[in-house]
């Protein structure tokens, strides 16, 4: 199983490297939002640790949706989904591989988006290592839910509107934990940052297990 998941993830990453439109769209989206935030609420409010963290994670959630939808669009354009699903254990491998590859892609997106936020908003980081842990676990906690919802909305009309409606309410605990954890790391609250990071890890494990258990049934 792990071999097949790694195989699908490697295939995804290769496709993303050859045609990196998902990453480019996600990074551009975050950059636009950071710029808009400063313009709309003013630099003083935008530099507040809670506000900057909340916007970063909301932007990353939308970026995850964009990257995931692009990833499945690529499968549909090439008629590759049917072949993948037909393989033994293909459905589990598809879910696991997509989640793994998206986590890797999102680490890149979060790194670029995070650096942009730090530079453009001139944010001071009190606990860089804690921030790194929170961001890594937050990035891992987002894809399982988004992949589930993109699979559910596959080939439906109004899919672009449906996926955020389905995904964002379910992502609320992850977004709250990631925002609070990031804000704690920015302001120097080590215990708070690690507590929220622990919660993010729990969410990542729970939703990955739930996804692996029931998503194969939804892939037709």
């Amino acid at each position: 199983m792990i071999d097949r998941i790694a195989l699908v993830a490697a295939r995804e990453l290769r496709a993303e490297r050859r045609q990196p439109d998902g990453v480019v769209a996600a990074v551009t989206f975050i950059a636009v939002l950071v710029l808009l935030e400063s313009l709309v609420v003013g630099p003083q409010i935008a530099r507040d640790a809670d506000v900057a963290s909340a916007l970063f994670w909301l932007a990353l959630a939308f970026a995850t949706i964009l990257a995931t939808m692009r990833s499945f669009d690529r499968e549909l354009e090439d008629d590759a989904l049917e072949g993948l699903v037909a393989l033994p254990g293909g459905r589990d491998a598809l879910f696991g591989g997509k989640v793994l590859s998206l986590a890797v892609v999102l680490v890149l997106v979060a790194a670029i988006g995070g650096l942009l936020s730090l530079v453009l908003l001139d944010l001071a980081v009190a606990l860089p290592l804690h921030l790194l842990v929170v961001v890594l676990l937050g990035v891992v906690a987002l894809p399982p839910i988004v992949v589930v919802d993109v699979v559910l909305a596959l080939r439906l009309r109004a899919r672009a509107a449906l996926v955020p409606i389905l995904a964002l309410p379910v992502l609320v605990p992850q977004l709250v934990a990631a925002t609070r954890g990031t804000s704690a790391a920015l302001t120097g609250d080590a215990l708070g940052a690690l507590s929220w990071a622990g919660l993010l890890f729990a969410f990542a494990v729970v939703y990955t297990v739930v996804g692996l258990t029931i998503v194969p049934a939804a892939i037709e």
Binding site: I145, V148, D149, L152, A153, L156, R157, A158, L162, I165, L166, P169, V170, V172, P173, V206, Y207, V210, I214, V215, A217, A218, E220
Partner: protein, 233 residues
Amino acid sequence: MIETTIPRGTPLPRIRPWLGIAAAASFVVASAMALFWAPTDAVQGDVYRILYVHVPLAWLAYLAFVVVFLASVAWLWTKRPFFDAVAVASAEIGVLFTGLFLVAGSIWAKPTWGVWWTWEPRLVTTAIMFVMYVGYLLLRGLSTDFSRRATRAAVFGIVAVIDVPIVHLSVLWANSLHQLPTVLRIAGSPALDTPMLVTLMASLGAYTLVYAYFMSARVSLELARQGRLWTRT
């Protein structure tokens, strides 16, 4: 073509009129108890009486979504259309009761907290639960093929129900403005006067019967729809 497994000779149509009468009668009795028999609260005055509507609505909102979860698991397990009918019926009724639960809470909040709405964890999470199940119904509405629609909705129904315990526990986790549980407390007996507790239990029973009546009617309708679908195919 999917093999139809609609239960033949289902007792639903036979018991529904009696269920309706029982629901209506118990609703009238519970409302009379809430308005005239239960004593006035020493702190909140008569405003607290909305509790006899608000708490049963909260119970039904949770119950409805747990039923969605169980029916969704049963559909994925057995692929019997009856379970999909139960899931959609419970989701629609759950959305209705969650909406009323939010409205009743808001009406109670204005005289008690001084605001119609506050960003309190349980309120926000309940509103999110409401939106989530509207999304569930939207997902169903956009799918055309019966089997795919039922499977997609079942998967989402299972994922979404994870939110239900978070709603209930949020009041315990967060430093919340919302009143702490008065009946199901971790330590000690219910912090309610006996007539109040009896009235609350009567209201819970009455509203549960209303839910059961709505369910029987909606499930019958859905089974009839499925029957027409099988006839066409």
